[in-house]
């Protein structure tokens, strides 16, 4: 009796405490974000079935799948044996690994692709900028061709003038040379002439002097002089 009372008391004391605990646990489970409620989980599994969104077709898929499997097994089209266990194990493992790896790999691969894309994009932008800069720098020198052509024409003209000037210089030099030579000839001729005249005068004087010394000539001169004086007197010039 005593034991029954003790047991009842214990049950009574345990009941109110146990109930809130269970309720709390259920609430916590329902509110937890990592564990979705069973209804959501069930609808997720149903949605994963391969057919359209209609519930009737989903049910049809399940029934068809189960029926086909049952037929395959019963008709010995597919024999259940230990390899089935391996197949199931491998399928579960691969599905688990795929689920585990898919997202991190996708993130990593996308990051890698983005990095390469960024490198390519930045290099393209750099290249475009470089080409633009080059176009701008070339644009600044757009008058270079006409300017160079003008300078070339000028230099050509200068060279032509220089050559003409050189020709003229040569001509002047030649003329001055000729003039100098001719002058020297003239001087020489003049000197030769002067010396000839001097010689001539000297020879004339010598001849006159020598002729004067001759008495016959002196008499003749004197006779001529007397004749001239007589003539003058006769003409009454004196």
């Amino acid at each position: 009796m005593a034991s029954r009372i003790v047991v009842n008391t214990l049950r009574a004391s345990a009941r109110p405490r146990a109930l809130p605990t269970v309720t709390r646990a259920v609430n916590a489970r329902a509110m937890s974000s990592s564990n979705p409620p069973p209804s959501e989980r069930a609808s997720e599994i149903i949605n994963n079935l391969p057919s359209s969104q209609n519930l009737v077709t989903k049910t049809g898929t399940v029934i068809l799948g189960t029926g086909l499997l049952a037929t395959a097994i019963s008709q010995e089209l597919y024999v259940l044996n230990e390899e089935t266990v391996v197949a199931a194990g491998t399928f579960i493992l691969l599905a688990f690994l795929a689920k585990l790896i898919r997202e991190p790999y996708k993130e990593w691969a996308d990051g890698h692709i983005q990095r390469i894309w960024g490198v390519l994009e930045s290099s393209r932008a750099e290249h475009t900028q470089t080409v633009k800069d080059r176009i701008n720098s070339v644009e600044q020198m757009k008058d270079v061709v006409s300017l160079t052509e003008g300078l070339f024409a000028l230099s050509k003209e200068t060279a032509k003038l220089e050559s003409e000037a050189f020709v003229q210089q040569q001509k002047v030099a030649l003329a001055s040379e000729v003039k100098a030579v001719l002058d020297s000839w003239v001087r020489f001729e003049q000197q030769a002439k002067e010396s000839e005249q001097t010689e001539l005068a000297k020879s004339v004087i010598d001849k006159v002097l020598s002729s004067i010394k001759d008495e016959k000539t002196q008499k003749e001169i004197l006779a001529n002089a007397v004749a001239e004086v007589e003539q003058l007197v006769k003409n009454k010039a004196i």
Binding site: E82, V86, G89, T90, L93, A109, I113, I116
Partner: protein, 257 residues
């Protein structure tokens, strides 16, 4: 009842490694030649096709921006390239090591798919591969070092009296590489597949024992899943080890210690 009847017939776990003829014909050429397509031949062709397909997909239509496939392939290429550069130092051997890596890896991975055959569990493939490589490496060493290649069998600083003994030991050790390389791969893959076969046989018996036992068996099935995962890891690890050892053998032949 049907289950119990089928349970009476238990296959040997080593049966999966048998080379069987799928189709063949005898032709009256050169005596009587038998042309046979075995599961080994079929899976070799399948491996070749898968490798080609993988690289075709990884080629990414020659686009500059990589796809997710090409990134995976490029990462594998970079890993193998770093192994070759670290171990040998010459990238001329990269195509060979790369091909070897992909051949063994795809062979092992295809073997992990149920109902398939693993060609590396055939001793003629594994030992044949390692023997061919060792013969090639020896020819490489002889062509580079000529007669000096044999100094490889005499460790430096050996007393003259010990030379015959050490040469013998070194020669045996050198030849043992040809076996150890292939047997390591063969034994690991065979052991894993055999273990899976044995465990799956037990699990199948337990799964077909009733609803309660079915539920209880889910616990060892989880362990089985872990072992399947380990098998998957062994496929990668054994490929890596094989390739790494081939690299070190090539390095030995090039540098002679």
């Amino acid at each position: 009842m049907n289950f119990n009847h089928s349970n009476l017939f238990i296959n040997s776990p080593l049966e999966q490694f048998e080379v069987t003829s799928l189709l063949g014909f005898n032709a009256p050429i050169l005596g009587y030649m038998s042309f046979t397509l075995t599961n080994l031949g079929l899976y070799s062709a399948l491996i070749f096709t898968v490798i080609l397909g993988l690289h075709y997909m990884g080629n990414n239509d020659k686009k500059l921006l990589p796809s997710k496939w090409s990134i995976a392939l490029e990462t594998l290429f970079a890993s193998i390239n770093s192994i070759v550069r670290d171990q040998i130092g010459k990238e001329i051997y990269l195509p060979f090591i790369y091909s070897l890596f992909f051949f063994i890896l795809i062979a092992n991975l295809i073997g992990n798919i149920p109902y398939t055959y693993t060609i590396t569990t055939s001793i003629i493939v594994s030992i044949g591969l390692s023997f061919t490589i060792l013969i090639g490496v020896t020819i490489l060493g002889l062509s580079i070092h000529k007669i000096h290649f044999f100094s490889f069998f005499i460790p430096s600083g050996t007393p003259l009296a010990l030379v015959p003994l050490l040469v013998l030991i070194e020669l045996i050790s050198y030849l043992a590489r040809a076996f150890s390389l292939g047997i390591r791969l063969f034994a690991n893959v065979v052991a894993g597949h055999t273990l899976l076969k044995i465990l799956s046989t037990f699990l199948y018996q337990m799964f077909s024992g009733g609803l309660i036992i079915f539920i209880v068996t889910l616990l060892p099935f989880a362990l089985f899943l872990a072992i399947t995962g380990l098998e998957l890891a062994v496929s990668f690890i054994q490929t890596y080890v094989f390739v790494l050892l081939v690299c070190s053998y090539i390095k030995d032949a090039i540098e002679l210690h």
